[in-house]
Amino acid sequence: MTQETILIGLAGVLASAAPVIFAVLGETLSERAGVINLSMNGTILLSAMGGFAAAYNTDNIVLGFLAGMLIGALVALVVAFASITLKQSQVAVGFVLALTCRDLSYFLGNPYMGEPGPRLQAAPIPVLGEIPILGQLFFRQDAITYLSFISIFLAWLWIFRTRPGLMLQGIGEKPAAAFIRGANVNLMRYVYTVIGGALIGLAGPAYSLAIRAGWMGTISGLDGIGWIALSITIFGGWNPSRAAFGAYLFAFLQWLGLVLQPVFTQVPSQVLQVAPFPLMILTLLLVNIGNAEWVERTLAAMPETTRKILSKALRAMRASPPSALGVPFESE
């Protein structure tokens, strides 16, 4: 394999991770505020279809992306309304929406099946694109991939560096403490769920108008991506940079699966495509095991010094979800 093909492959990895990045960042924002948006898998499909249809009908690719975001925001609004205002289980509502939106996309997308439509073109950045290696990896992509790079940084900046972002952390962590500091907890939860939903909705057109342009219904190969993004959100420990790393790792492993195909001819490609999953379960286990009850009990029975060392090690691995994730808030 030449350096050239490897570079092209890696640049492809960066591009193909873009939709997952948007979805993971959106989910991270939503969960940081305390709301699990489990509808992701359906939202991505519906926004992919809706975004394609909008761009196809208006012949305007930007409108396609906006339509996708609007769809994502609307679905998230249903999740927010059901869980914050009606206090229903976020998991139940999100799951139902995941299936419903998926089927709705197949149903409404029927007329667009296999139609040729607009596609986002690569937009190499002058000068920067000429840098050897780096230029080819980062600066000869399309606009949506650039946007994914910027989004990672912006999300990180927002959550960890800005005043409202700090409050966002607080709202998901201890809403009562955020409330006494003047936050309108439930309103903010609405806002972040809807913004997060819009970002998730960006993932759909990022497929249907860029990476896998067109709408192919059930054979689009998009079903399942939302669930993957959900796992990556946990893997990412609700931190945009770690989540982005997870998304790139996932895309890289999938690419590796394709590359290694000729080496392991007896293993079907579909299997290598899902190879990251056992790995993901293993990571979830490492990340979560510190939360298990028996670990606590076993630790409690140990001598103080061993106990302290072990719990430190567990803590270092652990990615703790926002403490108030999924918990409704009422101020007295």
Partner: protein, 496 residues
């Protein structure tokens, strides 16, 4: 800042939590607020700090101006800052982020200036806090210090502290008191809510005592301890006829037991409980009695020492082993821990019995439920879900779930919130158990109940446990002092 509270009332449904409270606190004063659990202290403080609003007609006047406080954030605009018993901060975040959260300003907080302000304030009070460490690595005392300077930075001129000396070290307490005195000298008004008489006597210029929602008295320094105790607990306690136990064999024996949690350490307790005996655990909430009774149930594993039940070594065994050995525990939070909301009374009684075969005999279950409902005088039907019952009836249902025979019954606040008829009824049932050879250990914040029903009692204060005290030979006065942390020197230093 001068504070004036006028005609403050607060109803929660039928409960009258604050009754016509009038209180004036001049600027620069450290005001103590004393009272038992449930006396209405925290309701009053929640009103002042904006969590809840008083009933119409009440007035809060700050520096002569009537104000309406809509929310905790609004309170701080008016200069009222509150330090909660469990600090309302964000443990996984950094100290500096905790410090600046809630202060308005530009999109990007300027951490350099914030850090400078933080350092200045911390130095002023001699707090050594690292702005870059995470809050969950701090002690409770340090988290308090962080909250104090945060509130001052936000412009608080009234500081309310709710039980601030629980869970902090002696040196942190000394520092806290020095800080509060310094702040008062600078013209701040401090409201110090506590049940610890010694702390109040030591620190406060004046104290107000609440009982059953009413302000029953105000005292200025110097204090007469007996007077304070009398106001807190009421002077006339009419003891019913006591029924001394016919103490039998040793049922439960604790040898050199030590317990630990994040807040408290209980060290080297020895206790022997005999069949038929009732042991009351007295103390303000969170003084260690909850951890102690859970250790008796096998729910908390002691970090040291040995537990024996009827001669059998149960050290380190699971809760279910304890239960099989005849220990039953009735927690205070009935619907959270004791009963299963959504299941009806019949379901509960069936669950508590040993299964007979695979299928539940509906008719027998119904019969069992009817019998228990009748003999425990529960107002409900076999098909009533437990959450539809009143508190008293839930408590009776819990009692009716106790297995038979039993060696040891453990109860948390068995009669809290119940009407007098239920109280008498429940204790009648419990004493019946004692006559059948069971021993009882119970927690209560009601001194009257403790004195009337226990044979011996233990007093808890900040993790310290008294020697067993003969209930017949003590008085409300003596107990009140011990609960408030006074007179421990005379108890001997075995447990210190």
């Amino acid at each position: 800042m001068n504070i004036e509270l006028k005609n403050i009332h607060k109803h929660f449904g039928k409960v009258h939590a604050n009754k016509n409270i009038n209180l004036a606190i001049p600027s620069g004063t450290i005001q103590g607020i004393l009272g038992e659990n449930g006396a209405g202290k925290s309701t009053l403080m929640k009103i002042l700090s904006g969590f809840i609003q008083a009933d119409a007609g009440g007035e809060i006047i700050l520096d002569g101006k009537p104000v309406i406080i809509h929310s905790p954030a609004d309170a701080i605009h008016h200069g009222v800052g509150m330090l909660h018993q469990d600090p309302l901060d964000f443990p996984p975040m950094r100290v500096l982020d905790n410090f600046l959260l809630g202060r308005s300003g530009g999109l990007f907080p300027n951490r350099t200036t914030v850090a400078r302000d933080f350092k200045l304030l911390a130095e002023q009070f001699d707090f050594s806090l690292d702005p870059d460490s995470y809050v969950d690595s701090l002690t409770v005392g340090e988290r308090q210090q962080l909250e104090i300077i945060r509130l001052l930075w936000l412009g608080a001129r009234i500081l309310i502290l709710d039980e601030p000396t629980t869970g902090i070290s002696a040196s942190q307490k000394t520092k806290l008191f020095a800080t509060l005195k310094k702040l008062a000298e600078q013209g701040m008004t401090i409201i110090f809510v506590s049940h610890k008489l010694e702390d109040v006597e030591h620190l406060c210029h004046q104290a107000a005592v609440l009982r059953a929602g009413e302000l029953v008295g105000e005292i200025k320094t110097p204090y007469v301890t007996s007077k304070l105790v009398e106001m807190m607990f009421g002077k006339e306690i009419t003891l019913g006829e006591r029924q001394p136990a016919q103490a039998g064999e040793v049922v439960l024996s604790f040898t050199n037991i030590s317990l630990e949690d994040v807040r408290l350490k209980i060290k080297n307790v020895d206790l022997q409980v005999r069949a038929g005996e009732v042991i009351g655990l007295a103390g303000m909430e969170g003084s260690g009695q909850g951890m102690f009774i859970r250790a008796c149930a096998g729910l908390t594993r002691p970090v040291g020492g040995r537990v024996q039940l009827n001669g059998q070594d149960l050290t380190g065994k699971s809760y279910h082993t304890y239960k099989h050995a005849g220990v039953n525990f009735l927690p205070a939070a009935r619907l959270e821990e004791g009963l299963v909301p959504g299941l009806n009374l019949t379901d509960h009684f069936v669950l508590a019995e040993e299964p007979k075969g695979v299928f539940i005999d509906r008719a027998a279950g119904q019969k069992l439920a009817e019998d228990r409902i009748q003999s425990f005088n529960i107002r409900g039907t076999p098909l009533s879900t437990v959450e539809s019952l009143s508190g008293g009836n839930q408590q009776r249902a819990e009692l009716a779930l106790l297995q038979s025979p039993l060696s040891l019954v453990l109860l948390e606040h068995p009669t809290r919130g119940l009407d007098i008829e239920s109280v008498i009824y429940i204790w009648g049932k419990l004493k019946e158990r004692c006559r059948q050879g069971a021993s009882i250990i119970f927690i209560s914040s009601d001194l009257e109940e403790i004195l009337q029903y226990s044979d011996r009692l233990l007093v808890f204060f900040s993790g310290k446990v008294s020697q067993p005290i003969d209930a017949a030979a003590t008085s409300v006065e003596e107990l009140g002092q011990l609960i408030g942390g006074k007179g421990w020197a005379n108890m001997g230093d075995e447990h210190a």
